[in-house]
Every structure is written in C-alpha cells, then in structure tokens.
Amino acid sequence: MKRSLKWSNIYLWLVFIILYAPILYLSYYSFNSGGSMHGFEGFTLEWYKEVFADTRLLIILLNTLVIALFASVISTILGVIGAIAIHHVRKRSNQSTLLSLNNVLIVSPDVIIGASFLILFTMIGIKLGFASVLISHIAFSVPIVVIMVLPRLEEMSPTLLDAARDLGATEWDVLTKVMLPFIKSGIFAGFFMALTYSLDDFAVTFFVTGNGFTTLSVEIYSRARQGVSLSINALSTLIFVFTMLLVVGYYFLNRRSRGQVSGRTGSGKEWGLANK
C-alpha cells in the first residue's frame, strides 16, 4: 500500500510538473537580459518595464478585462434566468430539449461559433469590433452559466418555495430571498467560468474582431507568429501571478462559506469526506 502510494505521488507530481513547466519557463526567461528564450544571461526587469511602457499592450489588456467582466456579468444574469426557465419547464421531454439546445454552444467547436457569428453579425449589420466581440462572448458564456446553476436549482427542495409562498412571500421575494441565496454558489461558479472562458477565448474573438479592436489572445497570436519577444513573457508572468492570487483567494473564500453552510446543505461532498 505504501509503495503504491509513493508511485502515485510520483505520477501526480509528474503531471503537475508538466502542467506548470511552460508557465514557469515563460516566467524564468522573463527575467533574462539576453533577449531570447534560451541561454539565461543575467537578471533584468527590463521586459517588465517594457510591458508597462507599451500603451498599446496595456490598452489591449484593458479591452480584454472589460470584455470579460461585462460578458460574464451579463451572461450570468441571462444564464440564471435561463436555468430558472429550464427548471420551471415541467414536461421532461421539453426540458431535455431545451437543455440539449443549451449545450449546442458548449460543445460546438470554437471555429464554428466564430464563423457562424461572423456571418450573423455581417448579416444584421453589427460592426466588427468591441460590440461584436462582447456580444459573442456573452452568447457563448450563457450556456455555461446555465449548466453551473441548474444542478443547484435541482438540489433545492421545492417545499422551501412552497413554504415561502404559504408564508405570504411574493414571487419576487421568493426569487430574491429564497431562490437566489440558495443557488448563490452555482451563480458564482458560473460567473467565474464565464470570466475564464472570456479571458481565454481566442478562436471566436479572432473571427469576430475587426481591424481596430484586439484582445490579448489575438494580439499574442499575431506576435507569436512574428517571433519571440520577452515582453510577452513578462506579461504572462504578471497574468499568471494575478490569476493565481484570484483563484487561491476564491478557493479560500469558497471554503470558508462552505464551512458555514456545510451543516445546512449537506451535499454529497461533505458526506464523502466524512466517510473517509
């Protein structure tokens, strides 16, 4: 038993090392004064200075963040509405039809989403740029939010809503005081997923972005095709540290709140842990 445990640890570590190698590799060379990703010559912060001096890059970064935040907020709202809509459909067959339609955009290849949205936007007459990128990010994030919220809704005991109504709550009260607090964790998870998808998206954006507007992914793509520049390394290091802080912060926040409600929700997770 102990032996196999050791092997399993080695395997896991190997996976971790491979997963993190490229990121650490980028970070390591971001301090290289040599100007290339081989042969570390000396420590320098020159590339970081370059990032902060590069207004174009900073604007692109800002664009990316603005798009991601807007897209995830709006798609969270739409997705929650969608999840409640699906949840309220009573006929099972209708519900699963809606759900399959919902999943179309999740399983569609990015290239198809990009190409079809490009046709759509040119047909409707939406100018390619900020608006088209934002709309398409919202569009492909909505189903993700639905998927994250729906299981929480299903977990919710219907008697809870009945009780609220019996006690005289209006539909609005039921929604804001009972339902939304209950599915809060799903909403947050959906929001974060939408944020991630939006920040990470390349293919869809690449299709629907015009000449004047770029996000980080598209910019890196065009720079990477030209050759290596260490300011990209510096930028990615900054992003990595930022993401790390965000995610770890989210994790501990989540854990704290889960600790508070664990007695109440009693989901399978706690049960599984207690069984160990």
Partner: protein
C-alpha cells in the same frame, strides 16, 4: 397544456414561467438557431454569391476527404492520449488529502491564456529550447521537435488534460466508496475492482471528458499554425482559411456543415449527457 396535472404540487405559476423563458428563448433563437441556419444557407453560395451546390461537390474531392480523415485521426490520438494521462491522474487526485485544492491546482493552468501556453512551447520545443537541451545532455542530440506531429499532439494533449481530468474526477467523487469496499470484501483484486466496478461507474465522466476533448480537437487551428507550422491541416484550419484568408465563405460554411454533422454523430455515440437531470 397540462396545468391540471398535479403530480408536482410545487409547480410555479405559469405566468412566472413564461417570464423567465422569454429572454432565454430569444438568446437561443439568435445565437443557437440562427447561426446554424446561416451556416447552412451560406454553404449554398459560391465565392461570387451565386446559388450553387458545387461546394458540396468540392467537399467530396480527395483533397478535402484526406483532410477530414487526418483531422479525425489527430483528434482521436489527442483524445486517447489525454484519457491515458488523465484517468490515473484524476483517480489519484481523489485519493489525496485536500483533494479540492489539488484539483484546483490542476485546473489552474487552464486559466492561463491558451495562447501564452502555446507560446511557451514554441520556446520549450525550439532548436535551443529546454527540450533539446535535455536531449543533448542524455546524448540523443538535437532534434527537430517544433513543427512535427509529436509537438502538435503533445501540446494539444497538454491543453486538454484539465478538461479531461475534471469530469473524470467528478465521476469518481460521486462513486459510492462502499461499492469499492464491497468489491474488495468479496475478494476482487484491485484490477478487477477497477475494471468491473470503478471504470463502468465512471464511464459517464470518461464520455463527457472525451466529448470535451475530441470535438475541439477536430477544429484546432491556432496550435496547428503555431506548433505544427501548417504541416497539420485540420477542418478547423480549413474553415479559418476560407473565412478569413480566401474569403470563400461558402466553402468554409460547407466544411462547417460537415463538422456540425460530425459533432452531432459524436454526441449521439457518446450518449446524451444527463447533466442537470436526475
């Protein structure tokens, strides 16, 4: 309408239901139905905007057929390798202390921009990169790694691993541990337990993982450009080429139609995902 149906006493008033459905159905109409219809519509026009079925004829020429087959072959390889790496990893993850934290650390790299990671591999696999430095020290000598099938599949698998691990991890987590105990108590070896109990019960996780990898792998175009150096041409690359470079939207849309059909077949083969339903 079966509103008289009282099997569920907790039904919400129809008024409220309609209210929620309106914005959601609007979204669906505009961004799910319309794009698919438009793709099919566009596939019926040639590059000059004339109505034609010629695009479909072109698709069945050897050039496109070969591309389709190689696209499927690469997607298959990528999915298989991802599964091979991810299943044990997901299983071992569920056995660790603080598994949620470890899972988070596995997922974390997928939060880093895809392009940045791909960019890193250009450095890692380059002529003077770390991979070649290692090969040189163990005496194999410098190899051309970048712009090969190997690098393409490696990077793709790297990108997709978290998406494979997550559903499998969840499936294993949902597994009732007493089933494993029962199997052990009844004298099954660990391998038998895995083959007859654990794997069949987590097959849904495997399926959704494969779905999550195979379909995007069919349509990769950025990695083919940056890592495979245009040597590998997938359906995705072809679509991108037609839409953004040669501006032959009709042909691009035709390929997209076939990709959508392929996708639908895969979805049916891997079974309807029953997420969100009991």
């Amino acid at each position: 309408m079966r509103t008289a149906d009282t099997y569920s006493s907790h039904a919400v008033a129809p008024r409220a239901r309609n209210f929620y459905l309106i914005p959601y159905l609007l979204w669906m109409l505009l961004f799910v139905a319309a794009p698919i219809i438009l793709i099919v519509y566009d596939s019926l026009f040639d590059v000059d905007g004339k109505f034609t079925f010629a695009n479909y004829g072109h698709f069945f020429t050897p050039v496109y057929m070969k591309m389709t087959f190689s696209s499927f072959w690469y997607a298959f390889l990528i999915t298989a390798f991802s599964l091979l790496v991810s299943y044990p990893a997901a299983y071992l993850l569920t056995r660790t202390k603080h598994k949620q934290l470890w899972l988070l650390l596995i997922i974390l790299p997928s939060w880093i921009n895809l392009l940045l990671k791909t960019y890193a591999f250009i450095g890692l696999f380059g002529t003077y990169g770390a991979a070649n430095a290692i090969l040189e020290t163990i005496g194999i000598g410098k190899q051309q790694i970048l712009f090969t099938d190997f690098s393409f599949i490696f990077v793709s698998v790297y990108i997709f691993i978290p998406f494979m691990i997550l559903p499998i991890f969840n499936a294993i987590e949902e597994l009732n541990p007493s089933l494993i105990d029962a199997s052990r108590d009844l004298g099954a070896s660990p391998w038998t337990t895995f083959r007859r109990v654990i794997f069949p019960l987590t097959i849904n996780g495997v399926k959704s993982g494969c779905q999550a990898v195979f379909i995007p792998a069919l349509s990769l175009f950025m990695i083919t450009r940056l890592i495979a150096g245009n040597r590998v041409i997938t359906l995705g690359t072809a679509i991108e080429q037609h839409f953004l470079v040669t501006q032959d939207w009709g042909m691009g849309a035709t390929i997209a139609v076939f990709l959508i059909i392929a996708m639908a077949i895969i979805m049916i083969l891997t079974g309807n995902r029953t997420r969100g339903r009991r």
